[in-house]
Each structure stands twice: as C-alpha cells, then as structure tokens.
Symmetry: D2
Subunit: 278 residues, 4 copies
C-alpha cells in the first residue's frame, strides 16, 4: 500500500506544487490532487516531471461534476469531464472519487434514480480513459439528519448502489472515519475483494460517543480512537495494494505551517503503519 496525502490536514498550502513537494519530502508516495490544473499550469511533461522529481504519483482526482443538484448543472459539468479524465490519464492517475451525503433535501427515491443515472454516465466517460470511480459512504450520524430525507450511508447500501449503477469501473472510497462511525469491523473489511476498493482515506476520531462524532472534526492518524491497526491490517489481508491517503477535515484550520503539518502527518503514518506491522 502506498502512503498518500490530500490537502486536507496540511493547512494553508500555497499551491499544488507545495503539496507534491511536501509529500515527497515527508515519506509519502502519492497525493490526491487535481490533474487538469496541474497539466494546465505545467504542461504534460512539466507535470510528469514535477511528480517524478518528487517521487510522487497522483493517487486520485476528485469528480468535478455536480451530480447532486440540477440537471442543468450536471450537464454543464459533464462537458468538461472527458478533458479532466484525459489529463488524469496522461499523469498515470487511474482513480476518481466522490462522496455520498447521507441525507438530502430532495425526495430520496427520485434523487436515487437521478444520481444512479448521472454517476453511471460519469463512470462510462471515466472508464474510457481507464479511470475507476470510487464512491465514499459517509458515516457520521449528524449528517444522516442534516438534510430532510435519509439517502444512504452504510457499506452494504453503497455496494448495492454500485451494483445498481452497473458499470465495471465503480467501487468504494473506503474512509476510516466512515468505517468507524458506521460501527464496522475488521471482518467487514475482510469480506471485501480488493478490487472493490478504489481508494482509501485515513484519519482518526476524537474520543467521544460514536453518535456524536462530527464529520469535520477529525484528528491525525494515531491521535484518536479508531482501530487503525485493524483497519490497515484488514486492507493488507485482502490484498489491497492501492494508496491510503490522509484526509483530516477540521472546523478550524490546523495550527502549524504546511511543513510542520506534513511532518506531523509523516509521524502519524509511521506510528499507525508500524503499529499495524506494515
């Protein structure tokens, strides 16, 4: 498994270059970042060089398509998706992820129908460029009632939705925070086939009752109560060979410079990977 960084947890980054350099300098082999903007800024060769020089790959891009809103907004974003996928492909990135909010102000059944259609089309376009789409179930309880109607939030509901979407290149973005807040176990990880997991996010949770854990109040790996040893060992056991990227959403920006936070992240990864025997 590769170790990766997202921008979430590194404070006030100047730009993508800084994310990539910090990743390379602090023991990470991958970053979740936007490929198209990198190519636009540096050109294909320049972007490849920037990554290669820092010993870093792009583990995943985000899905830059509004699939949760109006059809008009969705179609507007769809116009740019193939170019985004092409850019990711030129940089050797094969994963694109999006998150599923557990509730919605839309009527749940019609919204599920629309979302199924939209994500299927996104998967089809991404698939032409060899890119897999990872869907992230989101576990914190407060979000289940944040909007009017329950949508989905469990692992099984997400796997079932992936079946309904019906494309070969759709799987999970498996985030430790959501594994934890869903009350899942290591056995639940071991029941998965590695190819069902497109990407992994890691973080930790404060020591509060699980029903009170807030989605945007995460801590660095090893600083909380999630059984990250079990989490990582489960992934290892099933043969997951992708990236584990850190994603620390917080209410306040974390204190420290990006350099300090990258170092803190490196220490966090060393702690939890070592504890897991990896």
């Amino acid at each position: 498994m590769l170790r990766g960084l997202t921008g979430a947890g590194l404070g006030a980054l100047d730009n993508q270059r800084q994310l990539i350099e910090l990743a390379g300098r602090y023991g990470f082999q991958a970053v979740d970042t936007d490929a198209l903007s990198l190519v636009k800024e540096y050109g294909v060769d320049g972007a490849r060089a920037l990554l290669a020089d820092n010993g870093v790959v792009i583990s995943s891009i985000g899905l830059p398509v509004d699939w949760r809103g109006s059809e008009e907004s969705f179609l507007k974003d769809l116009e740019g998706l193939a170019a985004v996928a092409a850019a990711a492909k030129t940089l050797g990135c094969t994963r694109c992820c999006t998150y599923i909010l557990p509730s919605t102000d839309e009527k749940a059944a019609p919204f599920m129908a629309a979302a199924t259609r939209r994500l299927r089309l996104c998967a089809q376009v991404l698939g032409a460029f060899g890119i897999s789409l990872g869907l992230e179930f989101v576990g914190p309880h407060h979000l289940r009632t944040r909007w009017a109607n329950p949508f989905i939030w469990t692992l099984q509901e997400t796997l079932d939705w992936i079946d309904a979407i019906g494309e070969p290149n759709v799987g999970l973005l498996f985030d430790a925070y959501h594994w934890y807040t869903n009350g899942l176990t290591v056995a639940d990880i071991k029941a998965l086939r590695p190819e069902q997991i497109v990407h992994v996010h890691i973080n930790d949770a404060k020591d509060v009752p699980v029903e009170e854990v807030l989605d945007n109040d995460r801590v660095y790996p090893g600083e909380g109560v999630i059984d990250l040893t079990g989490f990582l060992q489960g992934l290892q056991a099933i043969g997951y060979t992708g990236t584990v990227s850190q994603e620390i959403l917080s209410v306040e920006p974390p204190t420290g410079t990006p350099e300090e936070l990258a170092a803190r992240s490196q220490a966090a990864f060393n702690k939890v990977f070592t504890a897991a025997g990896l």
Copy 2:
C-alpha cells in the same frame, strides 16, 4: 388503437378461455392475460388457435417477478422469467407490465437502487424475446402514505426512472386513473412520444375530491368524471397505436355475470370512444 379487456371488471371469470371468448364476442381485439399458463393448458398451437378463433391478441402479460421484496424472492422468480417471455413471444405478445406502489416500508433510496437493478435485469431478459416492459405510475393519494416512505408516483418521476434503468425496451403503462389522480392534462399526454407508452389502461373515477379517490374503487369508462375524451384524443394525437385495456379495480366484485359485465364494458368503450371521435 385496439380495445382490450383485463380480468378486472368482468367479475367471476371461469378461466382464461372465457376472458378471451368474451373479449371476442363483445367487440374487443385484445386481452391482458398470462401467456405461459395459456400455452401450458392448450399448447402453442392450441393457444394460438384460441386467440385467432376469437379475433383477439394478448396485449400484455404481467411481470411475474417479485421485484419489491427480498433478493431471495426476486432470484427465485427470475428463474422463470425467460420461459414466461418465450411463451409470450410464441403468442405474439410484445408487452409486459408492472405497477409501482407510491410508497414503501423500505428505506426509499436503497429500495430505489435495488428496484432499478432488478427491473433492469427483467427488461434485459424480456428484451431478448422482443418484449417491452411497461411501468405504471400509481396516482391515488392514499397510497402515497399507505406505507412508511414515499417512493415515486408522478409521470415525470417515472420517466426519469426509466432513464435510470437505462434499457431500450422500458416505457410506461399509462392508466387513466393515475393520469387523473396525478392531476395531469391532455398536454401532458401530447408531450409524450408514442414509443414511450408501452400499454394503456382505461377506467373511470367516482365524483369525489381527487385526493379522496381510492385506487380500488374504480368505475367503468364513461360512468365517472375522468376526461376520457381528452385522454383518448391525446393518445390518438401522438400516434399511439397500441391497446387500451379496461382495468376496473373494485372493493366488491362487480354485480353481474361475466357476460353481462363484458356487455357493459363494450357499451362503456363505445360510449367513450365515440365521444372522442374514435
């Protein structure tokens, strides 16, 4: 447009043969009935002869698959679907319909995902035999809260769901009762392309406030308040050339023998078709 009968509205029919004979005798060209049982009873040649001798075709079969319950039940029924489709094909029937209950005790979003997957598979199997799948939106207000969670009940929601199912052979079972209880207009019919309508059901509604109209309390065409002239003229205007079959769901069995009720149905059809200039 062909005129058709279902068993609903003919009282205590002895068997399928009687339905077919009554249809032929009382001015109908089609019946909604089960093809496989007809073939099992009479053989292919015998079933064909029974239909031909009475000048009647099978306009639609029902979908004999439990797509609303457990996965186990769905798979059990799936085992028989191809044989059902094959039987329909041998008798020249190209339509298979199912109804959508407006609410469900299941969580709406996961249920929509499962139903999308199951109906897509049904459509795929049916499509191999040249059969289209018609989905009937159900309008009566009381059913929207009959079960715990709203599912879908409008024309537009059903058209959107058909898009999400994504198969070429899926369309609408368009029922006058549900057009009426959804507050739809003739313009809504005229906005449809004829190929979006797989099958049509006709009936009438009692003169009560539309929010109080009960699904199983229908009356014969022309005996109620639905603008069936507009309904039929709308279908004619868009070039719908399929069957319009009568379906009278009632709490109590209708009074009269099947013969009498077939005659009553013939008179009803004559009344409303003539009023519509058809």
Copy 3:
C-alpha cells in the same frame, strides 16, 4: 415529415448562414449542419435567431468523433463530444448521425468490438443531452470490397448492431441510396417502427445496374431510378414524422450556384413528394 437540406448538393456554399437562408427561401424546414460552430459564430441567441428568422431547424448534426481509427484519436475527439451535444441541445436539435463503411482494413471482429464500445459511449454522452444517434448503413456494392474485410452493410445487420450497442437512443439514418443499393423494398420500410428511424436522407441513383452504382455518384431526387414514391410512402405509412434531408454526393461539384442548386433541390422535392401524394 419535414424537408431538409445538407450541404451536399448545394455546391460551393460560403458558410452555414447561406445554407440556412437557402433552405428557408426554397421551401425547406430543416438543415443538417454543425451546431457548435453556429453557436460559436453567432452565440446561442444569435444562432437561434438565424434559424428562426429563416423558418428552419437543425434536423441533425454529424458525429464529430473518430470511432473508426485509433483509440487515441477516439479519446481525443471524445473530449469535445459533450460540448457538441450541449450546443445541439441549445438549438433544439435532437439527432446526431454517422455512417458505417461496409468494409474495413481492420480485422472485422475486433473492429466490431471496438466500434460497439465506442458508439455506445458516444450514445451515452449524446443521450444525456436528449440526442439520438443515427447509424447509416451504406449499400453501394463497390464499398463492400473497397477495404480488405467485410464489415456490415444491410438493414438487418445494422438493426442487430443497434441491439448490441444496447442504448435506448440509437437508431437508423435511413438513406434512400442505401435502401436502393441493398435491394430493399417498401415492405422493408413498413416492417420498421418509426422510432427506429432517427433521420432520413434522400437522393436518387443513375440508371445503371445496381451493383455498379457508386456511392459518390448520386443525382437529385426524381432525376434517377429509385422508387422514391414507395420510399416516401413507406415512411409516411409507418408514421415517421422526422426530416427527410437531401444528400447528393458527387465526384465533381454540381454545376450551378448554391442559389440555383437550392432551386433545383426544391423542384426535386416538390416532384417526388407530390408523386408520393405528400
């Protein structure tokens, strides 16, 4: 049925505006033309005004995607497809067509697999914008051996391929020249459902043995030997309500100014439509 013009048969047109103006002036209600370039030149409002002022709609755009060549070329073109579809949608155009060459230098089976996948993806992207994809089978015998390996060229092979592509919005571009050179009859048209026909092209053929008819040696409707009365009456009989656009491919540019050729086209359409009782 609407009467339409393509650029093929109007000689040396200055630009799209001229095509649209000539269409409006010479009795045509539609043009096959590129929507994106029109929007880029005139803006959405300007393009809409140009069309409306001339009483003309865009009946079909062409598919600007190289689906016959390398994967690299296909993906490059795919990047622009959604924007093309969006432009067509803003101008109210719902059809996009491409032609099928009857033979190929590629190995036929692998090429069929690749083409199926590519056209399915094109149809999926187009479908998001409400656009149907029409596939044109090409009948002239010389093209069946122009390249090394037979691909497909008959109506039935094309219908079967549409089934294999498996998307709801794929149908035929039905061209009189290919109906004729395939030896098809009016009965073959009458066996079609109108929704299977996305678009129609009309033209005529020289009085030579059908096996010698050349694809790029067409004449104006009514100037040749194709039974265009049967062709048009067949389309009318099945309820086809789309456009019939003229497409005259010729070795040498036709003689005459675009004005003269538009007038000649109008006379040709009047002749054959009148002969068909339309």
Copy 4:
C-alpha cells in the same frame, strides 16, 4: 491458488461423483463440473455434503448456452440459464466459463455484434446470482483457419471484447495452452490484474513447432514444453487466488483408469507446482 480437475484428462469417468471423489483423494481442492445436474441428482444438501465430504469445491461451471448459433437456439438455452446459475450459487460456485473459437463460418462483424449481445445478457443473468463469466481465448493456429472467417484469438482482443460486452462480472478463462500457442510471455501475465482472471486451465504441449500444435492434442502438466513455471509464477505474482484446473483434450481417450489418471494428474501438479516454488 487451488488445484482443480476437469473431466478432461481422467478418461472414462462413471459420473460426477467419481470426479469429485478422485479430486479429493488425489490432492485436488476443486472440480470444474455441472452444478445443476449435481443438485438434481443429490439435492442441495446432498450435493453440498458430497463436495464437503471430499474436501472439494466447484471451481467453475460451463456456460450451457448456445451463443454461437441461431437466435432461436440461444433463446431456448437462455430459458434455463437462471436455474443453472441458481444451482451454482447454492453450491458456492461463483464462476462460469465458455470458450471462443478463433474462426467462424458466420460473417465476422455481424457475428461479433450478436455474440456481444448474447454474452452480455448471459453475464447479466449470471451476475444476478453472483457468478462471473470467464471467456477463454483459444490459441492453436489450425483453428484460426478451421472455419471461413477469422474471429478473435489473442489475449488483447479478448480483453477488448470484455470491455465491449461492458458488464462488471466478465473476465478471462486463462488456459496455459492458449497462452503458449499465442506466443505470450510471463510479462503478459504480470500485466494483468488478478480480478481480470476468472479461472485458469493448465495442461502442456508436445514438442512440435508452435504453429503445428493441435488444440485437442494436449499432454499432462510437466510432460511437455510449456513454461509452466513461468505461467504459475506469473499468476502467483499478480495475486491470483482462484483455481488452476487441469484440462487435457486429446484425440484418443487417455490410457488408464480414472484412478490411474487422477494419480498421474496429481503427480503432474506436484511436479509443476513444486518447480514453480508453490
């Protein structure tokens, strides 16, 4: 990786029970065999007991559907597919395989379109029961011209066809004989993801020029010239954890009783697995 047996290579087996017992007795953990017939003969519980008592699972069933012939024949077989899949599911079997003949008397492009559609539908039905479909490319040169028109026979052509079929549960039946006669290397195996391989067959080839190797003239693993060490190590390296089943097609039945041939197979597997360090 599990070691498996097919009936091909065990001579004149009395029945399925004997295959299962011999597998268990001679060091194999799996058999490729028909699940439905086993369930019909022994009942679900009896079939499960028979397998469990012998320490054997069913690694794969064959696809009992004629997808290469007439549409009529395909549809007839389709009627039984769901029941076959259900039986496999009850016995814990998750794989179903079919072979691809490299040439065909059908026109290659239309045949590819039909085959794509038919195998997609088979995959959809199988997928409902959690079963993957493995497609076996067939390498021996003589079969490329055995029928009139080339179809497909390479690894890449088969992977491309899997993409065109477009279902999530379709992959390869990877047979050493076809890896060898296609001139493939260990690098070609290592370029695969393990989930692309649904099932594996093993055998060996006589020491004749590879263009002269006959499909039905195979020898037991280790008795020929195929680099089975490389083959097995490649599969191990990519993390393939499925079954490797022996399939020895021969012109004449092999000499020896099933017992003797099972012992010979065990020795063959021990030889090649040991040589590969497995």
